[in-house]
Point group: C2
DNA sequence: TGGTAACCGGATGGATCATCCGAATGGATC
DNA sequence: GATCCATTCGGATGATCCATCCGGTTACCA
């Protein structure tokens, strides 16, 4: 992607908007562009030019975290133990999802507002697919689970943690680990139970 | 529950509203009270008097299905095989969640708009808890999974099916069964399976 | 059949949202 | 260092949607 040269004030305002949005997301508030503009001390038009929709702003907020996850995924690929690699990758992804409120909506959304988001999601999913395939080849993975099921299941677990209702990050991460361990145990089962 | 005497026209309009709301829910549209009124050929005030909020209307739409699930749960308690009972109960619940769009938001909501909904949810969860406890006593269930985890996990699986993106009911039910089988295998895994 | 209470439903006020355009600023050129 | 042009700023604007209120009407009961 060619880096578009950005004017000084535009860049400064971009940073402001992102900072305010990040604070709002961490606070649990749903992003409202008008509200973001007011809190950032900027005009509404400024915010709308930078980010056409709340989804675009949310994706911009989530981008750094997605990049970190992608980098971690690439490192997981280097682990010689396929199971440990898959487990670490999924655990890290799930932790991020239940810790950072900006991630869950972005990963679960079928459409992306920013091209960069599409890139990162594709890279992340590809890594997950490779890790799953490697684990399948090495150990025993349920045959009826397609690679396309990995992302929905992860989003589902993150959603389950939300429904569970724990507020502080530590409890959420703990719950996520419990759920993931259960699911992984089911993934690992060689043959599905027959009737 | 004491049946409140309802005037003829009021009852007729109540039915109309429910019917229109049911159609909208099946269509996938989010309920908007103003829109419901227009489609039902009624005034806005009429709809707002019957249902104060869209959530209340949604719960009223979901009530019959919740009652059916509760009844099915009571029957599952009669099954002598604890594992089969739990499996059937969860399968039925999940099928309903992925088939009827009114259920997922109601079950996942932390607060209820209608007292009847609170009753039904409590009964349903109680049944699930008993079934889980029985299964735990009979066979082997992961010890780190609390009874309070059952509902979040079910909601999570239903959400996963949504993220998966299948449109027609058959594919959704199939996906739900795959996910549930995986999770149940994980639930079962702690110690060698009993029977 | 007439009275009363409850219900119906359109009109109203408030809020929020996304867009537009004149004014101002930054960067490039001479 | 001064000028010019493109880009951006930011408040004002129009539109849409939501929830409430009150006069007219209907159903139930004596």
């Amino acid at each position: 992607m060619t880096t578009t040269p950005l004017r000084k004030d535009a860049a400064r305002n971009w940073e402001r908007i992102i900072a305010v949005a990040r604070a709002l997301v961490d606070q649990g508030t749903t992003l409202q562009l008008n509200d973001v503009a007011r809190r950032a001390g900027l005009g509404v038009g400024t915010v709308y030019r930078h980010f056409a929709t709340p989804e675009a702003l949310l994706e911009a907020v989530a981008t750094p975290c997605l990049e970190a996850l992608t980098a971690h995924g690439e490192r997981a690929l280097a682990d010689p133990d396929p199971w440990r690699a898959l487990e670490a990758f999924l655990a890290r992804t799930l932790e991020a999802q239940v810790t950072d409120a900006s991630l869950a909506p972005v990963t679960a959304a079928p459409e992306d507002a920013l091209p960069r988001t599409t890139e990162l999601k594709a890279a992340l999913w590809s890594t997950g697919r490779v890790l799953l395939d490697r684990a399948r080849a090495a150990g025993a993975v349920r045959p009826d689970l397609a690679p396309g099921d990995l992302v929905p299941l992860m989003c589902g677990l993150a959603y389950a943690v939300d429904v569970h209702g724990a507020r502080d990050a530590a409890a959420r991460v703990d719950t996520a680990h419990r759920y993931l361990a259960t699911l992984l145990e089911g993934l690992r089962a060689a043959t599905p139970p027959g009737p």
